[in-house]
Each structure stands twice: as C-alpha cells, then as structure tokens.
C-alpha cells in the first residue's frame, strides 16, 4: 500500500458521510489459539494475541511495531504491563511476526475514530471490522507517530487490562473467593485477608478459558505505576555492546553479497551492461539485470561494490532526463498561475469574507517561501537479505511495514502472500524511509536468480540518489492587518497535500482564511519524511507569522499570544517556552532569538532558539522546547524524541537540500549531503505539559518548528529574512540598524 492515511481508510468505504459502515464486520473474539503456533512455545500460555506468560512468570508483550530508535518497544510494553500489573523486571518484548493475524487493527481504529468514544456493545464488532480492513491492506506500519497514540491506547492497554481481569477471575474461582477481595500486583494475584498469593503463570491456563472483556476498565492516571515513569529502554544494553542485530548484520549459511546500481534518472530502463568488464574478477559470481538496475553478486560486499563501479552500464533515454530543479519550481509557479486564473484551486480552508478583507484593511503583506527536496539518509543504508527456496521467499531486513512488504514482494514475484516471510530486525533509522519496499523487491528478484541467500546492500550513494524524497515546495502568502495590528485575512497557496491534513492550518484566530493548493505530477519519487507535510508548513506558516509581527510592529511572541486567545492549550505551551527561554531578557550583539509554535500528530510544540552570527554563518546555541502531548507515557523517551526531532530538523534547515539536475540527484554522500555534528549541536531543553488530551505523537512533532524558530532568530540578529531553505546557501550579514 502506498499511502496510509485517514483518507485511505475512508476511501475503502469504512466511513461514509461520517458514519461507520459495518458491512464487513466479523467478531474476531480471542485469537490467542490461532497465533499460539508462531509466537509461543510449549512452556508458555498465549493469553491473547498481545501477551504470553511463561512458566517462570516471565511476561512477553508482543508489539506490532518496528523499533527504529523511538523506544516504542519499551513504551508499548510498559502500557500493557501497567494495565496488567505485571512485574516490570520480568517483562520482555517480542516484535509481532509479519503474519496477517498481526495486521494492526488498532491503527485503523485510531485513524478512523480519532478518539471518538463508541458505544461499548459495538466494540467487539468494530474491532472485527478494523481487523478485516487492516488485513486487507496489509497494515502493520510504524510511522505517523501512531504507535503510542493508537496501538498503545487501543491494543496494548486494553489487552493488559482484559488479561488482568481474567487472571483475577481465575484466582477467584480457584480460591472460591469474591473477585472484589483480590488484588493484582507484580504478576501475582493476592488475597490480603488470607495472605494467599499466586503467580499469574499458575493461573494462565484456566484464565485462557474465560472470555476476555473487549471493554475492560482502564486505569486512571492516579493508578498508573509504570505509565508516566521512565524505566530504562529494554534495547539499550544490546545497543552499547555491539550485539544489537540490524538488517545489515544478518548472516546465513552460503550467503553471498550483492551491490546494485539503479538508473540515476528516475525510472529509466536498463539498456545494456558490458559484463565482460568484470569477468576476470575473482570472487565475483554473477551480474543480474533488473528492469531499471544492475546488480553484482560476489563473495564479499566490498568486491561486489568494486565490481559494480567497474561495470559499464547504460540506461535508456527518458523524458525525465532533462528535468532540473528550476524547471520544477517553474512548473509549480505555472500551476499556481493557472489555478488562480481558472479559479480551480483545491480549497483546504475557506472561511469568512476573503474578497472584502483585502479591500478594507490596507496594511498588507505578501511573501513567498521555498523548501528543497530532502532525502532521509538513515544511518543504516538500505539493505535486505533474501532467500528463495521451495517456493518460499524469505526476507530479513528492517521494515516499517513488514506485512506490507510481504504483500508487495508477493505481488511482484506473483506468489501467494503466505509464501513470503519477512523477519524484521532492528532498524538503523527509519524516518519514513523504511516504509517503501523497493530494496525488499530488488533483493527478492535477485534471490530468484540464484540458489543461495543474497544480502543486498545499497551504497550510501545509492541511498541518497534512490530515495523517496520529501518534495520541494513553494508556499505563497498574503495577509491583511487592521488598525490594531491584528491579522484579518490570511491567504496561503502551495503545492500538494499529503499528511497530516492539518499541517498547513494555523491555530490563530483569523476571521478570513483561504488556504488552497494544487496537485500536479511530481517527477521525483515521493516518500514520508519525518513529520511529512508539517516539515514544510511549520516553516512556511511560522515564518510568515513572524513577518506579520514585524509588519505590525509587535514582539513576535506577544503577537502570537494575541492571536491565540481562543486556544488555551496552545497558549500554555507558547508561554512555557517563552518563560523558560527568558524571552524578554537581552542578548549580546550578534545574537538573536526566534520563536515558533506548531501542532502535528496531536502534539503541540513551541520552540525558542538562540543564535549567534559568526563570520556570516549561524551558530545555534540553545533550543528551548515546550510540548503538550496530552500525556507522556515515558517522559524521558518523549524528551529524547524531542531532541531527536529538533536535531533532524536542524540538519534540514541548515544543510538539507537534494538538487535535481538532468533528471538525477546531484548529492551523493555525507560530504555533500551534510549532517549536523556534535560541534554544531545546541543545548536543548525540553519541558512537558500534560493536558490530559488524547495522547499525541513523539517522534515527529518537534521537527516542524525548529526551522522557523531558527530563521526567525537569524532575522532578529541580522534583519535578514530567510525565505528559502537551507540556510547554508546564505552569507549572513549583520544589519546596520538595530531591529525590534
């Protein structure tokens, strides 16, 4: 499945006119027995599909998400263990197998319901509906900051609470005592009066015979014992001693290594390859031609990569070969003009009386911003190990959607999906990149040609040049201000719309708004990139808001406050960031301070950045980040994600640009697609507000706001407004006049 979004579910006919259609409902009931075969061994009781108990009272939580650094294995296990009152020191995690029984119904539920409460008698039927949809879609995705929000809320907590209830009932039956007199604690059921205690493991088999409630009572925050605390990540030890096993570390008997080169111009077909050029190389086994790429198989990856670089390869000409970066921007501008002329802009938000506001309020401002294409550059280059045998295709890799990958590979190889086995490993970074199955398909096609397992590794050059990119975009604004310096009209036009839908929407109370966009064919492969549309709209809207503040002659923080009067949640976050950053204190000369606020994936984040301009370049000293995720289930993990998202966004703001020339990517490795390094990393302070709203995401929401806070800070230091990223392309000059 290409896109997983709320809209994708809706288009499946699940939601029609806002109502849930129960056409394909089945009641799934407890599927523990169905899955026992592949997740449990004989010494374990599988209580429901998300949890099993071993004889020694060890509890294993089965998590349907990939661990790519965000700590999701630990946090989800905590959510289940807390509801279950499990002994945390004896809890383990196992990633769910890529079997369709593990299609993640909680995601469908999360996307569709968006925290709407359902009548409880419907829950079971609806879970069946959601399961049916997710099976059909091959949905087992990690992305969109969904794991804690949806899986945690709809699957883990419910499973933990339901299991606890049946364990307690089983104890009550055994002791012939009323269940109300019993207590659950540290993986035991206790009866205080008689001082009896029994481990969960001894109750598991009889508990399995009892029906688990689909709407068990969940704990209220004051009853949490694990949620809201920060136990150490379960994966940390293996990640400091070299034993953590990533896709690239897989080793199988008789395995050989493959390197690959795909057409630099996206989608060009292979024309010819002169195999003779490497025939004499010892240890090189085979050259395999794919439709748009060539691969070499050798005894070592090093040999394979030397060989592929020696191979003379030619690709067919393609109409895309003439496209360059400026043509793409030109095309966008033409789309704007045409849409505006024909009046067929796609309306995203339309409210108030736009035509009049620009007539009445004479103070007006227009601006245009640009952002370039961006690659993901996960630290672990793309790779996949594949073995075809006995009609089965086995795949080892790190994937953000193992089940979806199995489905894609099955389609390409034209074999049934249950003949494709995906063994998911740790992901050396995901950021959206590992939701595209391209490398898995390539590896499967190579494995089809040989009778041994093949490990295909992409060079970093291939990784940068064959990505699915965050698109380049242009965003144009026009706004009007009244006498009091309040914004009365807001018009915004940009290209494309993906997820999240609210990315270009502003939290500010502005009466007249027209936000619109145009779709056209994007000639460059597109992919989910950390925070997706918000990665640019955060920069666009918060830069323009800053420009308006200057135009209105107001302090950028106060100006935002005045427009957030009706949004208490936003206001609180903004105030906290400003307060912790000591917003109104003075700074040395050559220094500047900038602010931003953006909500994405359910979490509101405000940031204040302090910079110094040194010899025309920016030095980022400090970032103060305040966030309201509703509730942080693992506060330290949440803070780690804030830091991570900020640094990812800083890299993009300062350095990130993928340029297209003659239909191909110019950049190739870390020397020209640069990353922020230790010596450039600012001090980052993060503060969490728990507003008790429905849980928001952690992995993405801090990325959108860093670029505008940074460029706003540069403006306050220099008077230079950065309207196009990245910042490295500017020589920053100190302004003669003092600003603000």
């Amino acid at each position: 499945m290409g896109k997983w979004s709320r809209r994708a579910f809706i288009s499946l006919g699940v939601l029609s006119g806002g109502a849930l259609v129960l056409g394909i409902a089945i009641r799934p009931g407890n599927r523990a027995k169905k899955v026992k075969g592949f997740i449990g061994n004989k010494d374990e009781t599988v209580l429901n599909i998300w949890v099993k108990i071993a004889r020694d009272n060890t509890i294993t939580v089965i998590v349907p998400h990939a661990e790519m650094g965000q700590g999701t294995h630990t946090t989800l296990a905590m959510m289940l263990a807390d509801e279950m009152d499990a002994d945390w020191s004896k809890v383990k995690v196992m990633e769910a197998p890529s079997d369709k029984e593990y299609a993640n119904y909680a995601l469908a539920k999360g996307f569709i319901l968006e925290n709407k409460k359902l009548p409880s008698f419907l829950t079971d039927t609806l879970n069946g509906t959601f399961l049916a949809i997710t099976k059909q879609m091959g949905l087992q995705i990690t992305g969109g900051s969904t794991s804690v929000r949806f899986t945690g809320t709809y699957a883990m907590r419910v499973a933990g609470a339901a299991v606890k209830e049946v364990l307690m009932k089983a104890a009550a039956d055994l002791w012939k005592l009323p269940v109300e007199e019993l207590q659950a604690q540290k993986s035991h059921v206790l009866h205080e009066k008689t001082k009896q205690s029994i481990p969960y493991a001894s109750l598991a088999e009889s508990a399995l015979e009892l029906k688990q409630d689909v709407n068990p009572r969940l704990k209220s925050p004051d009853e949490y014992t694990l949620m809201g605390t920060s136990p150490k990540r379960l994966d940390a030890p293996s990640k400091v001693n070299g034993t953590a096993y990533f896709g690239i570390d897989v080793k199988l008997p008789n395995m050989k290594y493959a390197s690959i080169k795909a057409s630099p111009v996206f989608g060009s077909k292979l024309k010819s390859v002169d195999k003779a050029a490497i025939r004499s190389m010892k240890g090189v086994h085979k050259v395999i031609s794919l439709e748009t790429a060539v691969a070499v198989i050798a005894d070592s990856y090093w040999l394979a990569s030397i060989a592929i670089n020696k191979l003379p390869i030619t690709f067919e000409d393609s109409s895309k070969a003439s496209i360059s970066q400026n043509d793409i921007y030109k095309m966008y501008l033409e789309c704007f003009e045409k849409a505006n002329k024909d009046g067929d802009q796609i309306k995203d938000v339309y409210k108030g009386d736009m035509a009049n506001t620009f007539l009445v309020d004479e103070k007006q401002l227009s601006a245009e911003y640009r952002v370039p294409f961006l690659a993901h550059a996960t630290m672990e280059p793309m790779n996949c190990t594949a073995h075809m045998h006995d009609g089965i295709c086995e795949l080892w890799l790190g994937s953000q959607n193992p089940l979806g990958f199995a489905k894609s590979v099955a389609e390409v190889l034209d074999i049934p999906i249950d003949k494709v086995k995906v063994y998911n490993q740790y992901l050396g970074g995901g950021f959206g990149r590992r939701s595209v199955p391209d490398v898995a398909i390539q590896a499967a096609l190579l494995a089809q040609e040989v009778d041994y397992p093949v490990k295909l590794i992409w060079s970093r050059e291939e990784d940068i040049r064959q990505d699915h990119y965050r698109e380049a975009n242009i965003s144009r604004f026009k706004a009007s201000l009244n006498q009091e310096g309040m914004v009365t009209g807001w018009e915004n036009q940009f290209m494309f719309k993906n997820e999240p839908a609210e990315a270009p929407h502003i939290p500010y109370a502005i009466e007249n708004q027209f936000i619109h966009y145009t779709e056209t064919e994007n000639p460059i492969p597109w992919g989910f990139w950390r925070s997706v549309d918000s990665s640019m709209h955060g920069f666009f809207t918060e830069s323009f808001m800053d420009e308006l503040a200057i135009k209105a002659n107001k302090d950028p923080y106060e100006f935002r406050r005045e427009h957030l009067k009706d949004s208490p949640r936003h206001l609180k976050v903004l105030d906290l960031a400003a307060e912790k950053a000591n917003w109104s204190s003075s700074l040395p000369s050559n220094w500047g301070r900038g602010i931003s606020i953006h909500k994405s994936f359910g979490t509101i984040v405000a940031q204040v950045v302090e910079v110094e301009i040194i010899k025309g370049k920016v030095k980022v000293h400090r970032v103060v980040c305040a966030a309201d995720p509703g509730y942080a289930f693992h506060p330290d993990g949440f803070v780690a994600q804030m830091e991570s998202g900020i640094i990812y966004g800083l890299t993009a703001a300062i350095y990130g640009e993928i340029n297209i020339e003659n239909g191909a990517v110019v950049e190739s490795n870390f020397h020209d697609y640069e990353m922020l390094r230790m010596n450039e990393c600012p001090i980052i302070e993060s503060y969490i507000i728990s507003s008790d709203s429905f849980p928001g995401g952690a992995g993405e929401p801090s990325t959108p706001g860093i670029a505008p806070a940074l460029t706003n800070a540069i403006f306050s230091a220099t008077g230079q407004r950065i309207r196009e990223l990245p910042i490295k392309n500017y020589q920053l000059e100190m302004s003669k006049e003092v600003i603000g």
């Binding site: 790519m68 650094g69 965000q70 700590g71 920060s230 150490k232 990540r233 994966d235 940390a236 030890p237 293996s238 990640k239 400091v240 001693n241 070299g242 034993t243 953590a244 096993y245 990533f246 690239i248 570390d249 080793k251 290594y257 070592s300 990856y301 090093w302 990569s305 996960t378 630290m379 672990e380 280059p381 740790y426 992901l427 050396g428 970074g429 995901g430 950021f431 590794i457 060079s459 970093r460 330290d636 993990g637 780690a640 830091e643 991570s644 998202g645 900020i646 640094i647 990812y648 490795n669 870390f670 020397h671 990353m675 922020l676 390094r677 230790m678 010596n679 990393c681 001090i683 980052i684």
Partner: protein
Amino acid sequence: MNLSINKKNIEVDVDPYKPLLWVIRENCNLTGTKFGCGIGQCGACTIQLDGVAVRSCLTPAQAAEGKEITTIEGIALNEDHMHLLQESWIEEQVPQCGYCQSGQLMSAHALLSKNSHPSDADIDEAMSGNICRCGTYPRIRRGIKRAAELMILDTNAKSKSHGEME
C-alpha cells in the same frame, strides 16, 4: 594474514587491500562495527588500532598487521561487566536506533583513554567525525562526562585500596 582482534589472534585469507570494516564484519563475524558511508565521513565504522580511533572503511587490512585491533565487542571489562562508558551510555539512555553507537563509543573510548577530563571543546573535537542521524549528541556528551567522572572515582578507589593493602 594474521590479525589480532580484541586480544585474539585470527588468521584470515583476504585481499590485503580489503578494508578492515569488511574483514571484521564478513570474515571475523563481528558485526558491531557498522557501515555508514564508506568514505570516512560518518564514523559508524570506527575501531581502534593500538588504541587510536580510525575509520575502518578506509583502512586496508594490511595496515592492521602487527597492531592490536579493538572493536566494540572488545571494550567490556569481561563477560559480566561492561565498560564504565557503556554503563554511562545506558544511564543517560543514549541510544535510539543504535546504529551509530558502536562508532560513537569507540571514539569516546579513545578520547577518554588519553584525556580523563575532556572539556566540551575536547568532546567536540573528538566526536565530530561521528554522525548520529537520530540526534543523540546531547546525551553522548553527558555520557562521556559521566564516564569520565566515574573513571576518576574508580581509579581513586583502586589506588586507595592499593594503598591500604601495602
């Protein structure tokens, strides 16, 4: 060719120009050392040759002959005890995806072995060759500082107990 890795002698039959990175991963089956860029830009492949941090993706196998190679698998004190640096990494909850961390730890380890009191500038200097795409830099910095403090305590404790014994 004879190599000494983590104080063990290993005989490998490889092209002398094969980069150590691939010799270590493919021929010696030690996969803690990672491939990130292949051109000396990212530090994921950092190991030590005679205690000096080097990029194994650019170091031909023959350059390691007669030298002691140390990889991430070789810095723990013994099977049950991690190095203080590794423990500090867990204490500060440094790793996210974890892919860069072997290289980070090998650079940090080399730094601490010649400088027990690194300043922020020393840390910048020693660690800026190691990219972390997950942005764990603030925690790496804290991890190094914590380890440095613990190591000083540790040496003090050891020299004190030595003193008492004499």
